[in-house]
């Protein structure tokens, strides 16, 4: 569970607040997607929830940041890491640099947690299989393609089984099949009670998998609600976030009188089949 109230933040030596009076909550077992333009503060927010800001990056932070009912500021960084897994945006930077193989890399976070050796080995194998990187386990973590590295970065967090996972554009380097796989895994994790906050540009996948979607703009959450309602809002174009081609086609069809002017626009393929199909509204 994540609960943010009145969160404001400015980086060191800067005058302007990247986040200003932001409120957001994610319930246990829920997956909430956050969309926001380039530079909107998505990564900043992710690092705040994980406790990396201000402890590592400094700056001026205010407001309440609670994870599972505990203020993140009251935890040491290692206690915070046990509560929140952060999949960072650039997978290259998630690689520890301390390990020689992908296998050791995925196991790294578990090593100092008291989990028995045999269990670590089992969990690493299972997660590697789940993320389809089991054929890469003997490789150096640096001898990978960008997408493979991203899958390893995700695996190294999923293996920790933290109650909360914050994922900063975790599918940015992935092929379409891999992106779908990661969202399917997220759904499996939330079914088991994991709380997931995901920052993502792939609107079609958010529509299909998120329980709720929030828009980050001007340092705060400017809209929040059901995925289809939020993600079909034409203002997303104005906010530079963008819409799917299904939504754009729906709007264009409306403009030319080929679709009814009321009702929700389509965001995903099933929405669009219903919207445009023979049994649809027109």
């Amino acid at each position: 569970m994540i609960r943010l109230r009145g969160v404001s933040y400015a980086y060191p030596d800067t005058a302007n607040y990247v986040l200003a009076d932001l409120d957001l909550s994610v319930g246990q077992g829920e997956v909430v997607g956050v969309v926001g333009a380039s530079g909107a503060g998505k990564t900043t927010l992710a690092k705040i929830i994980a406790g990396f800001i201000p402890s590592i990056e400094g700056g001026v932070l205010s407001g309440d940041i609670d994870v599972n009912g505990v203020a993140i500021s009251s935890l040491t960084l290692s206690e915070a890491v046990a509560q929140v897994g952060l999949v960072i945006q650039n997978p290259f930077n998630q690689i520890s640099g301390a390990k020689f193989t992908v296998l050791e890399e995925i196991a790294f976070g578990l090593e100092n947690t008291g989990v028995p050796r045999e269990e670590i080995a089992e969990r690493v194998q299972a997660v590697a299989k789940q993320l389809r990187v089991d054929h890469l386990l003997d490789r150096s973590p640096y001898a990978l393609s960008g997408g493979q590295m991203q899958l390893v970065a995700i695996a190294s967090m999923v293996v920790m089984r933290t109650p909360v996972l914050v994922m900063d554009e975790p599918t940015s380097q992935l092929d379409p099949g891999g992106s779908r796989m990661v969202f399917d895994i997220i759904s499996q994790l939330t079914d088991l009670g994991t709380t997931v906050l995901i920052f993502e540009h792939k609107i079609e996948l958010l529509r299909e998998h998120a329980d709720r979607v929030a828009v980050l703009a001007d340092g705060r959450i400017t809209a929040e609600g059901a995925p289809r309602a939020i993600l079909s809002d034409p203002r997303l174009e104005k906010w530079a976030i963008g819409t799917t081609r299904y939504t754009r086609a729906g709007l264009a069809a409306r403009d030319t009188g080929l679709a009814p002017v009321t009702g929700e626009l389509p965001v995903s393929m099933p929405d669009a089949v219903e919207f445009f199909g023979p049994s649809g509204k027109h």
């Binding site: 333009a37 092929d175 089949v273």
Partner: protein
Amino acid sequence: MDITFDQLRYTYASGVEALRGVSLAVPTGQRLAIVGQNGAGKTTLVRHLNGIFRPTSGTVRIGDWTTTDKQIAELSARVGYVFQNPDEQLFARTVRADVAFGPKNLGFDEQRASELVDAALARTALTREADAHPHHLSLSERKRVAIAAVLAMDTPIVVLDEPTTGQDERGVRMVASITNELAAEGRTVIAITHDMDFAAENFERVIVMAQGEVHADGEPGEVFSHTDALAKAAVEPPQLMRLARELGWRAHPLTVESFVAQLAKKPQ
């Protein structure tokens, strides 16, 4: 300046066979999108163009040059390469210094260099960030710095490794218009991408790679209709083509305009 890959094979020192015989000709001024599964060899392929990698066997030609005869510095006058990971490409303390490195290194006189830098910063909407430290920018902003650094080199061939990754809608549209402008000036643009809508809307040719080989090659409308070959490469067609197929249409609309035009033809 035409590009040819002839039976290109590349095996990493660790023994991974990343390219297993790629033959491909890219004529001057073409907009070519390379798509395909993670680990297919896309990055390995394009890194042969500016000499970061040398063929294990086979040849790569750029105009009248064979890459093995040339130094990286020489090749960089012909090929600009935007790295997949901007943090691997950028090294300077200010955005401007990063963007100015290429033109300086290519020996352009100061005035031309500074004109190119200003134009590249403006084109990528980074003028205001010129004096910022790249580490104080967000990742998508850093990716735009990496793109600007290559635009400022004014090369006849521009290679973009996942240029839209992490970009918001404004950024994706920016990359699309840069692509089209470069091609209009007669430059060759090769972009690797996992965004099939971006590929379908902005490129005249698409190749699909899987396991070190090219599995499909042609116009987007045609390539994206080979659903079996695509599935093997973990690729799916662009959104509106998937929708048209689901609706049972025979047409393959690549753009919103062509989708709506097709819709207008259907009996209501």
